[in-house]
Symmetry: C2
Subunit: 346 residues, 2 copies
């Protein structure tokens, strides 16, 4: 590579749904070069990303269905994967990138800190990424707001007994995969059977609690999770699942994750994901109980925009990180990118 | 040094007033070794720091009046200076430490980022510290809450037009000098004549705005400061000045610092210092106007405790930093120290 010139970071957008489209616009704003776009949705396949992402110009880059063909026919620095929440579902697409030595950043919530929830997949991907010299990172809203924000505030605290958090998001803002994982449309019995006692599916705050503990230098002694359904008290139409959720069926859930550490500090986070009513907004509230107590909150954070912005702002950190599956607690805080050109100076 | 054993960080506490006493307690909690204590206040000179800091034991370490004697008779890793706000007043005590190669961390608000408000002193201290192989850092509440907190949130934002902040403190918590400097008791005419147009003394947010811009990768084009009086709307008794401030007279002021950057982003922070009414608490509110907008706040932060905790948490960063006058924007975010032993593993 010629070190005497500027170069743009080359990105494959893998997943061109709601998040992928915002991310592509942000990437173009920051001067990245989108070299490929992958999605299976027939309504957008073969369309120009300029059209689907609402850019002011056509780019010549078309959404294509086949990941192998796209990844084999460009030289990408990084792929942005906006596909599924859980690592089991992300295994194949991450493999497709990592076997080619392409760095990965993903909105997969489990990927934020998957070492204990999917240790086999994570270890395998970590070893592969090290062999191929590429880096895999999970990020999004949680990176900045659920992990780095409380960790930042904790830097001004002398002693901590407990950290309590409450975060929420509107299930309607995401894809159908997320809605299903939140039990949307299930009856009380179905929720009880499929979701309530499942420890196999970690809440997003399971992974973010673990990342926060790592960031704070704490070691986890015990993790507990309970899923409390939130039921519709009247019929609610869901755009995302494309049907009406009848009164009495679940419109989402509150996952309460309690993390007990060997240092005696407890981290308990409520993660409320449901179909919002008119006027409701996202929550991001934390209290640190300690010396001194601190309460801080973000008012109705725009979770989609923050997730997409964090993903884009994180790209330089991913490119600078060592090879492997590198969780965000190992990276510096995500930084605002003040410049219009998004330069690869490696 | 023996790398095969743990060692405690050795600290001189320089200034044993309100802040110094809390810091000494925090230092002892974290397992630091206090090797000297300096203060000119006759009421505490020759007293054991265990007594004045409210520790559960006497330490044998006494508060002494003469800095040279204390600094010459111990081998300190770092001195914690809790003395004055402005670098002009801190020049001599920092010199006393730096000429001996002792690292310095200070609550001096100007020291947070003094490169443009006191460039000659800062450059001289920087050169000296590099010669002596020690590091000088300014920190406190502002480090975590006025700089790293908004910078952390900005890591989840795509584009920023303006950052607006409002922070406050109670003039009654400090001395009469601060109350007078804030115009307490002045009429509108007197405030206009004596305080409103003075640019000679930077507001604390002048320095923190500059540090925030550095942290965000922005370059400052213009700094503006105005002092807006806050008037009593009924008679208010001030313990600090020992008199009643009548309705219509100033109970403090709001210093508004506007920082315009070459990148077009404006940072405007209000620093409100006034006599609080019943039930009022400190403010720490920020809004980032951009994509997306974000509003976040800390509810009635305990400014004294946060300042002292941040100073102690910062010590490992100071010891790990390169030599020189290193402003906190060059350091990683302050981190919570989870362990009871505060170990020097250098």
């Amino acid at each position: 590579m010629n070190h005497g010139t500027w170069d743009r970071i080359r990105v494959v957008q893998y997943g061109c749904g709601k998040m992928g489209r915002v991310i592509m616009r942000y990437l173009m704003d920051k001067g990245a070069q989108i070299v490929g776009a992958i999605d299976m949705d027939e309504s957008i396949v073969d369309k120009d990303i300029g059209e689907i992402a609402g850019l002011k110009q056509m780019t010549g880059v078309k959404v294509r269905r086949d990941p192998d063909t796209v990844l084999d026919n460009c030289d990408a620095d990084i792929a942005v994967l906006t596909l599924q929440s859980f690592l089991h579902d992300m295994h194949k697409p991450i493999l497709e990138c990592a076997t080619r030595g392409v760095n990965v950043i993903t909105t997969s919530e489990e990927a934020l800190f998957p070492w204990t929830t999917s240790p086999e997949i994570t270890n395998q991907l970590d070893a592969l990424a090290k062999d191929m010299g590429c880096t895999i990172v999970g990020s999004g809203m949680q990176d900045v707001f659920w992990v780095n924000l409380p960790a930042c505030i904790a830097g001004g605290v002398h002693s901590i007994a407990e950290i309590d958090g409450a975060v929420s998001y509107n299930v309607e803002d995401y894809g159908i995969a997320l809605a299903k994982a939140h039990g949307v449309g299930l009856s009380a019995e179905e929720f009880e059977r499929d979701i309530a006692h499942s420890q196999s599916v970690p809440s997003y705050v399971w992974n973010s609690n673990e990342a926060l503990c790592m960031k704070l230098g704490l070691s986890v002694e015990q993790m507990k999770q309970k899923a409390v359904p939130v039921f519709a008290d009247h019929d609610v139409h869901s755009e995302t699942v494309g049907e009406t959720i009848h009164k009495g069926k679940a419109i989402g859930m509150n996952a309460v994750v309690t993390t007990v550490t060997h240092q005696g500090i407890v981290v308990e986070t409520q993660c409320i994901g449901k179909i919002y009513e008119e006027g409701e907004g996202d929550l991001c509230d934390f209290t640190i109980h300690g010396e001194p107590d601190v309460r801080f909150s973000v008012r109705k954070p725009d979770t989609v925009a923050h997730t997409c912005a964090t993903i884009v702002n994180r790209i330089p950190d991913v490119l600078a990180a060592p090879a492997g599956f590198v969780t965000m607690d190992k990276l510096p805080c995500a930084r605002y990118l003040p410049y219009p050109m998004f330069i690869n100076m490696q």
